[in-house]
């Protein structure tokens, strides 16, 4: 008995090291699977509030730029509104009953990373603002990512600049769709894979979300084709996409809530269960 005790005392540093090291490896591996990482993320109370203090100070520096972006968006939305008005003047529809599947809310980015291989953002809204995991996050220019961890007041977003991210996207003109991934090289260039060989692609073509998931509605802008090559097996095309968003410089974002998400997911689950 004493021998064992002596062994522990003599090797206490080594045992402590092994214990803590394996615990950290466990935490690391846990983050590799999508939103399993419940404890160690920046949506928790302490780091969330520290980040929001920081953001409340630094956000003043970019006020001018943010204002221009808001103005641009306002003009764009006003133009759209005018065109709708022209269309529906004759019908006199009560707009209170126009049904929309998607509900938009806004939040502020309080921490952003883009230089790692698995990038995350932290935003200043959480469960209290009725956010849930798996909601889409966009800006006025294009998509940003998907909410993966959430606390009462904060949430972390898995950015599209993350090697775990795979988002359904399509060519705006030809409706061929593929998956959007990131090869970690440039924070403003992402890749679209699995586009069929026969799909007509031109440099400068617009890429939008495909609407094949419950997260993003169809037609949210992503970017434009920068260049493309055939893959080695000559079956599909590999496209480099230049993002419309500047992912290194995000501040105000919109969160998309799909009001039918539960219904769709339940239906799909039932269909699977029947099989």
């Amino acid at each position: 008995m004493q021998q064992i005790l002596y062994f522990f005392i003599r090797n206490k540093n080594f045992l402590l090291f092994i214990l803590l090291f394996s615990f950290s490896i466990f935490l690391t591996i846990q983050t590799h699977s999508y939103h399993k990482n419940k404890f160690i993320n920046s949506s928790n109370y302490i780091s969330g509030s520290i980040y929001s203090i920081k953001s409340s100070i630094t956000s003043y520096f970019s006020l001018k730029k943010e204002n221009t972006i808001l103005l641009e968006e306002n003009t764009r939305i006003r133009k759209k509104l005018e065109s709708y008005k022209n269309k529906i003047t004759n019908y006199n529809i009560d707009t209170a009953f126009v049904y929309s599947k998607y509900y938009f809310s806004y939040a502020k980015v309080i921490n952003n990373s883009y230089s790692k291989t698995k990038n995350k953002l932290t935003i200043n809204k959480g469960i209290n603002d009725s956010l849930k995991t798996d909601m889409g996050v966009v800006t006025s220019k294009g998509i940003v990512g998907i909410i993966d961890n959430i606390s009462k007041k904060y949430a972390t977003v898995q950015s599209i600049l993350n090697t775990n991210s795979q988002i359904n996207a399509k060519l705006k003109n030809s409706k061929h769709f593929g998956s959007l991934i990131w090869n970690t090289v440039d924070p403003n260039i992402v890749q679209l894979i699995d586009i069929p060989r026969l799909a007509p692609v031109k440099i400068g073509d617009t890429i939008t979300t495909g609407g094949k998931s419950t997260i993003f509605p169809e037609g949210i802008l992503i970017g434009e084709v920068k260049d493309f090559t055939l893959t080695q097996d000559k079956n599909s095309k590999y496209l480099n996409i230049k993002l419309f968003n500047d992912m290194t410089n995000l501040e105000h974002i919109h969160i998309i809530t799909n009001l039918d998400a539960n219904e769709i997911i339940n239906l799909e689950k039932e269909t699977r269960d029947v099989k």
């Binding site: 993320n41 780091s47 230089s115 291989t117």
Partner: protein
Amino acid sequence: MLNNLIFVNITRFFLLILVQVFIFNHINLFGYVNPYLYILFIIIYPFTANKSLLIFSSFLLGLFIDVFSDSGGIHAAASVFIAFIRPVILKYSFGISYEYNTIKISSKDYLKQMIYVGSMVFLHHFILFALEIFNINHFLLFLNSVLFSSIFSIVIILCTITLFSKK
């Protein structure tokens, strides 16, 4: 004297976390190179002080950085590793006698100091990026990150040591 030492180390611990999280995590030189100054805590932790305490506090230090940068446990793992391996590195960079003299790191001669800081930083970054990238397809990115981040960190850490050393 002893209380003072504990106080200094605790202050350094939190100060380095804040500096790392708010300044050095956002430098992104050439798009992906960030220095990791926070391991300065492990590097200049008193040479003769309790080793178990160092290993445990390094774990906490790394975990704090992980919480702020959403990276699972990679900083914790790398920090714990260099805290554990530190006596070995001290031995080969300063010779066997480091345990008996309590000279501060800033007063050693520059070559020994550079070997010590260099090997600590390199080992830390090697484990850090190996765990972060975790993919054989991005091997070149891994080598690049280790090399450039190490150089950047070594320069920053040596500058900090020189700047804050008491004459």
